[in-house]
Symmetry: C2
Subunit: 427 residues, 2 copies
Amino acid sequence: MMKAFKAMSREELLSLRDSLQAEYEKTKAFGLSLNMSRGKPAPDQLELSMPMLQMAGTPDCVTADDGTDCRNYGKVDGIAEAKRLMAGMIGVKPEQCIVGGNASLNLMYDQLMRAEMFGLLGSTPWKDLPEVKFLCPVPGYDRHFRILEKLGIRMINVPMGEDGPDMDMVEKLAAEDAAVKGIICVPKFSNPTGAVYSDETVRRMANLHPAAPDFRIFWDNAYVVHYLYPENQPQILNILEECEKAGNPDMVYEFASTSKVTFPGAGISVFASSAANVEEFKTRMGVQTIGYDKLNMLRHARFLKDEKTLAAHMMKHAALIRPKFEAVDEIFTRELGGLGIGEWTRPLGGYFISFTAPTGCAKKIVALCKEAGVTLTGAGAAFPYGEDPDDSNIRIAPTYPSLPELKQAAELFTLVVKLVSAEKALA
Amino acid sequence: MMKAFKAMSREELLSLRDSLQAEYEKTKAFGLSLNMSRGKPAPDQLELSMPMLQMAGTPDCVTADDGTDCRNYGKVDGIAEAKRLMAGMIGVKPEQCIVGGNASLNLMYDQLMRAEMFGLLGSTPWKDLPEVKFLCPVPGYDRHFRILEKLGIRMINVPMGEDGPDMDMVEKLAAEDAAVKGIICVPKFSNPTGAVYSDETVRRMANLHPAAPDFRIFWDNAYVVHYLYPENQPQILNILEECEKAGNPDMVYEFASTSKVTFPGAGISVFASSAANVEEFKTRMGVQTIGYDKLNMLRHARFLKDEKTLAAHMMKHAALIRPKFEAVDEIFTRELGGLGIGEWTRPLGGYFISFTAPTGCAKKIVALCKEAGVTLTGAGAAFPYGEDPDDSNIRIAPTYPSLPELKQAAELFTLVVKLVSAEKALA
């Protein structure tokens, strides 16, 4: 095994750098074309839900139990079957749910646009305020940050730990500044670190005393049932319940979808919240749309049936992607273990591995990987405004490539990490 | 045949009123429960598209011709097949199209929200202006008006004629007032009058010289292929082309959907415009969503195939609903002809018959119909703020009830029109 970089002499580093450089040039000549940039299910995962599509033309997938013809207009907030399914998935009550289209991101965007234009439960529309700020646990989900940025909402970085964001900081910023209108986060198998919020984090979140009465927690429970192991499935507290207990029933919006349960392009999504928030959401969405695709809702309900069937379905996904997560960890451990030039997460669920390179190296690593044919998520993408203050975070999305491709990509990645780290040590 | 009401003596009217009242009470006792309130296809129309659902699980409906796996992420603006289909339907070029989800209304709402928050092609966001106004041909589509109302956009009524809105008024208001930011209209088989815009109307629309550089025509071509007769299919000019010719390429947004081609709850929609507008729309929608349901797009493209197949499919709809339109006209003619107490449209397509009752009678007629078990669209619904200045317009939606039900409803309607008109004449 190689020595830690900091234990090496300059001569050792120089010679290492040269051999790494040579190896890199050799690999580049292969002309790889691999993509680990997005949390995208692989084709074999999509096959798991084909029976759902094959059911589409049957009467059972056309008429809901209450007689609703799902082909026609009506039921703007979704059919009962879909509410039950999604409520079961995230552990809330069906009446707390509104079922949406194929992107929960769209529901979040819509709700932020409505906050801007109309305000929330009678508050001043955010567009009429001098400034609106959001707390953003980092690293986090780039698409969240992009929406906030486009709306001109100022994002404040809050560091993530293993149990969730720095809650001292969240409590303080929310309590002190009425311009802070919310926090947006992925509480379970967080994108990209894989962190699972502890009970204490959830309780402290629910017990915030924000200065802004229309402060909202955007609780993007994107990976709520997306476990990698049958035997180790961490649970988080029900944020709706905790907010209710804390006397803050309207403070949270929960979101989830079946994008990585059935089909990323053709799933269903859910918004869950208090009675007042659900009522407001429903009234406003009734202006925007005639409702989302109920045929797709009913198919999902018939196919995923109940929590047990859903859990079994998710274990089929796990069986396909677990080897990919493990392969990356094996290669990283073998190639980088003990070198002191990188740390990475070993998540129990979700879609990402978060890699921390030496400070100032992430952009360079991503660029060299790209040059050699391996596309990673852009360095900095997991931070507001695309700016990683340490230039050290890299998000690895191992699910889409095949296992052999993934191994090639991971090998190249570790080679590049070593090369860039050696260069840094020599600089 | 009955005399015209105005030719009747007071005694004749009194005796007529009494007998109508008695007949009304008798009908009320039947306890009807019929709905002619929404432009909703009947179940037999929905059956026409069941083969599309039955194809859903076949490989042909999963993978697009360019290899795109429609189950997964990607192609935010829609797959090529769907662009071709929708472009063919509205007579524009595929590259002028973005394909959306199951509601074109949602696309219009989204675009108005973006105009408010971000402006259009670099213009001042509408939220930052002291006032925004829209021209609204009346009677028109209630859901259009509801969006504008919720956005606080002031609506200005423009009277509809048989060839479209009063273009003198449109030209004048657009040219004189920079707060007038647009017009929203249904150019073909207009909701609810069934009017078809003449070539002159379309050309004058395309040649507007609005004071506002970000003035937009919202061209809701909702009934573009929704003919009632095989032999009489009026065409309108291509507004995109006309705007281009007029040097106003960015002035128009066209919308359409398959809501009344396949399924109202599960169709696909389209936005069509100039290159600059399409680019802006695509960039902004890329923040909002990961894209709409591509599986549904591909199914639609495979099922509706081309313009010829689509046209044949629409004639199957026509065969089912034409008898309904004709039955209403027959009953209205038999019961109201020559009485001078109502006029109605005989559209060649679309989903509505527009009825003009004596001034001040529409609310009363709708209320008495409701009391006897026949639900109509609320009186005034076809006007901004729900206010019909004459209280005379009633929208009849004949498609959803079965033919026998529809006949009962139309009979009751004519009875009520006579009763309310007699009361008015006596007042």
